[in-house]
C-alpha cells in the first residue's frame, strides 16, 4: 500500500510541471502589460521599463519560464505577488485554512444530508419519500449559489438576526456560507447516492441478505450501502477538491478571505505569479484529494485492496 502511495506521489511531479507550463503559456497569451499596470496609470515610459527589468519581464519567455521552475525546485519559491510583494506561497497558505474550513463544513453538511436522503430515496423508490428527496435535490442544484447566499443573509441575518452576514471570524460566521455551498453539493450527492443504491439494491446478494433473515435496516446499511460507496466517495472527494479551489461567488457574497476570491482578484490585476502559484498549489491539493479517494477505495472494496496485497497471500488463496 505504501509503495502504491509513493508511486502515486511521484506521478504528481509531471502533472504539476504540466499544470505550471500550461498556466505559464496562458499567462503569456493574456492581453495587457503587467509592468505598466504595476507602475501605475500615469507612470512614465522609464518607470515602466524599470519595473519591467526589476520583475525580470524583459527577459525572453523561455528564460522566465526556466527561472520560475528553478525557483520552485531549489527554494520552493512560487514567486512574489506583484501587488503586495509577499511570496505567493505565504499568501495562499494564509488563506488556505479559511477555504479548508468552508469546504470541510460544506462537505459535512452535504454528506450528512445528501447520503441519508439518497438512501431513503432509493429504499423507498417511487414513493413520496423518493419524490421529496428528488425535489429537494432538484431545488438545491438549480439555486445559484450567489442568489441562495443573498437569500440566506436576508432570512437568517436581516430578518431573523440569528447569524452574522459577512466575515469569517468564528463558527457562527461559518454556518451561512457553508450552508450555501453545501446545498448544491448535497443535491449532487443525493442523486449519486440514490442511483448507486438503486443499482446495488437490485443485486442478488441483497436478496441473499434478506434470505439470511437480516433485518431491512441492516440489509440496507451493511450490505447495500457498503457496496454503493464507491461512486459516492468519488463524488464527495471531487466536490471537496473543487471547493478547495474556492467557492468564488459564495466567498464574494459573504466577504470571506478565501483562495477563490484571492485568485479572482489576481486574474483581474494580471498578477501573474499569484495566478501561476495559486493554480499550482490548487492542482497539488486536488491531486492529493484524488489520491486520498483512491486509497479509500481499497478500504471500501476488498477487490481493489487485493490489487495491493502481497503476492504471498494471493498464492495462498489460489493454491
Amino acid at each position: 500500500m505504501s509503495k502504491y502511495i509513493l508511486k502515486r506521489l511521484l506521478q504528481l511531479i509531471p502533472v504539476l510541471i504540466g499544470v505550471i507550463t500550461i498556466v505559464f503559456i496562458l499567462n503569456q497569451l493574456m492581453p495587457g502589460d503587467p509592468a505598466r499596470m504595476l507602475a501605475g496609470e500615469g507612470a512614465t515610459e522609464e518607470a515602466v521599463e524599470r519595473v519591467r527589468v526589476e520583475m525580470g519581464l524583459d527577459k525572453p519567455v523561455i528564460v522566465q519560464y526556466i527561472n520560475y521552475l528553478a525557483g520552485i525546485v531549489t527554494r520552493g519559491d512560487l514567486g512574489t505577488s506583484y501587488k503586495t510583494g509577499v511570496p505567493v506561497l505565504t499568501e495562499v497558505l494564509e488563506r488556505l485554512p479559511t477555504t479548508m474550513i468552508l469546504a470541510g463544513i460544506s462537505t459535512l453538511i452535504s454528506v450528512g444530508i445528501g447520503v441519508p436522503l439518497g438512501i431513503a430515496a432509493a429504499t423507498w423508490q417511487n414513493t413520496l419519500v423518493d419524490y421529496a428527496a428528488s425535489g429537494l435535490s432538484f431545488i438545491g442544484v438549480s439555486m445559484p449559489n450567489f442568489w441562495q447566499g443573498l437569500m440566506n443573509i436576508l432570512v437568517f441575518s436581516v430578518y431573523l438576526n440569528w447569524l452574522p452576514s459577512s466575515g469569517f471570524y468564528g463558527p457562527r460566521y461559518w454556518i451561512l456560507p457553508a450552508l450555501t455551498v453545501g446545498t448544491s453539493c448535497m443535491a449532487t450527492i443525493t442523486r449519486t447516492t440514490r442511483s448507486s443504491m438503486l443499482e446495488v439494491i437490485r443485486q442478488d446478494y441483497i436478496r441473499t441478505a434478506r434470505a439470511k433473515g437480516q433485518t431491512e435496516y441492516q440489509t440496507i446499511v451493511r450490505h447495500a450501502l457498503g457496496n454503493a460507496l464507491i461512486p459516492i466517495v468519488t463524488i464527495v472527494g471531487l466536490e471537496f477538491g473543487s471547493l478547495l479551489g474556492g467557492a468564488v461567488l459564495t466567498e464574494s457574497v459573504f466577504a470571506i478571505p478565501g483562495i477563490g476570491k484571492y485568485m479572482v482578484d489576481a486574474i483581474t490585476n494580471r498578477n501573474y505569479p499569484v495566478i501561476m502559484g495559486g493554480v499550482a498549489i490548487l492542482a497539488f491539493i486536488f491531486s492529493i484529494c484524488n489520491l486520498v479517494i483512491d486509497v479509500l477505495y481499497a478500504y471500501i472494496d476488498p477487490r481493489m485492496k487485493s490489487q495491493y496485497s502481497t503476492k504471498k497471500r494471493k498464492a495462498e488463496v489460489t493454491e
Partner: protein, 316 residues
C-alpha cells in the same frame, strides 16, 4: 414419512404495464421430510418465482403454504424472521449472490449472528469452521473474499451460508447451472451427502433434466406458471405423459454418437404469461393440440398412482 411442506393452489401474479403476469398459477404439491422435489421447466416458467414465494422472499398472491401442517402464508414480520431460520435458499449465481465486501467467514457467520446462535467470537469461529469443513471449504480460505475464489468454491460458500442455520427446508434455485460440469457433480454429490446425514428437505429448481434425475425423489414439470406433470422421478423418466415433458426428455443429450434417436422438437411461440387466455398454455407449441386444448385449461389428474398430468391427450 411426514409431510414437511405443503403448497395449496399457490398463485403469484405480478402487475406489469401490459397487464397481470401469471408467474405461478395454481400450483399445489407436497414435499415429504428428507426428500427432494425437483422442479423443472424452461427459463421464465416461474420456477424461481415459486421457490422465492415459498420462502417468502416474495409475498404470495393467493393460495396456501403449510410447514408442518401450519399455515405460513401470511406471516408477520417477526414470525417471518423465525421462519427464515427453518427455510433457506441456495441461489443460482454464486458470482452475484455473495456480497463482494464480505469475507468467507463473515458471509457464513452472519446468519448465526442475526439469530444470536453464538455467544462469542470463538464459538462463531468454531461454527463457521465446522460448516466450512462440512461443505469442503479449506479453513485457510476463511479470510478470502468471493472474488478470489472459483465458482465451485463460491457455491460452497452459498451452501454453507444456507446450511449454517441448520434449516429444515432448503430451496435450491439452480445451484449448479452456473458451474462447470465437473464441479456440478461435486456440488450435487455434496448436497446429497448432506441430505443423507442431516435429513434436509430440498426443493431443487433446475432446467437441466439430467441434474434433476440425479438428485430428485419427485419431479414437478412446470410450463408457464402451471404444473403440467408431477410424479416420482423414476416414473417420469420411464413413462412421461405430457407432450412437454416428452419434448424436454428428448432434449437430454446422450453421450454416445452412435445412438440416433427421434427428437421431439417444439415449434411455435411461447404463449405470453401476461393475462393468459383460457385453454392449455402449451397448446400453441403442442403437436397433439386440438380445439378442446385451446378452449379449456386441463386439470391436473392422477393417471396412475402418484403420477399427475395436466393434459387433455396424455401420452399413455
Amino acid at each position: 414419512m411426514s409431510t414437511l411442506l405443503e403448497v395449496k393452489n399457490l398463485k403469484k401474479y405480478f402487475k406489469v404495464p401490459a397487464g397481470t403476469l401469471h408467474a405461478v398459477d395454481d400450483v399445489s404439491f407436497q414435499i415429504e421430510t428428507g426428500t427432494t422435489m425437483g422442479v423443472v421447466g424452461e427459463s421464465g416458467c416461474g420456477k424461481s418465482t415459486l421457490g422465492r414465494t415459498l420462502i417468502h422472499l416474495l409475498p404470495p398472491t393467493e393460495g396456501q403454504i403449510l410447514l408442518d401442517g401450519k399455515s405460513i402464508t401470511n406471516v408477520k414480520k417477526r414470525q417471518l424472521h423465525t421462519l427464515r431460520k427453518n427455510m433457506q435458499m441456495i441461489f443460482q449465481d454464486p458470482f452475484s449472490s455473495l456480497n463482494p465486501r464480505m469475507s468467507v467467514s463473515q458471509a457464513i457467520g452472519e446468519p448465526l449472528q442475526i439469530y444470536g446462535l453464538v455467544k462469542n467470537k470463538q464459538e462463531l469461529d468454531r461454527r463457521v469452521r465446522e460448516t466450512m469443513d462440512t461443505v469442503g471449504l479449506a479453513a485457510r480460505l476463511a479470510d478470502s473474499y468471493p472474488h478470489e475464489l472459483d465458482g465451485g468454491r463460491r457455491q460452497r460458500i452459498g451452501i454453507a451460508r444456507a446450511l449454517v442455520l441448520q434449516p429444515r427446508f432448503i430451496v435450491c434455485d439452480e445451484p449448479v447451472s452456473a458451474l462447470d460440469v465437473s464441479i456440478q457433480a461435486q456440488i450435487l454429490n455434496l448436497m446429497q451427502d448432506l441430505q443423507r446425514e442431516n435429513g434436509y428437505t430440498y426443493l431443487f429448481i433446475t432446467h437441466d433434466l439430467s441434474v434433476v434425475r440425479h438428485i430428485s425423489d419427485e419431479i414437478c414439470v412446470m410450463y408457464l406458471g402451471k404444473v403440467v406433470e408431477h410424479s416420482p422421478a423414476k416414473e417420469l423418466f420411464q413413462h412421461c405423459c405430457h407432450p412437454y415433458t416428452k419434448a424436454l426428455l428428448s432434449a437430454i443429450p446422450i453421450p454416445n454418437i452412435d445412438v440416433k434417436r427421434e427428437r421431439f422438437l417444439l415449434k411455435g411461440e411461447i404463449t405470453s404469461p401476461i393475462d393468459p387466455k383460457p385453454g392449455c398454455r402449451f397448446a400453441a407449441r403442442c403437436s397433439y393440440a386440438t380445439e378442446a386444448c385451446r378452449q379449456e385449461s386441463p386439470e391436473l389428474r392422477e393417471l396412475s398412482p402418484n403420477h399427475f398430468c395436466a393434459c387433455h391427450h396424455p401420452l399413455m
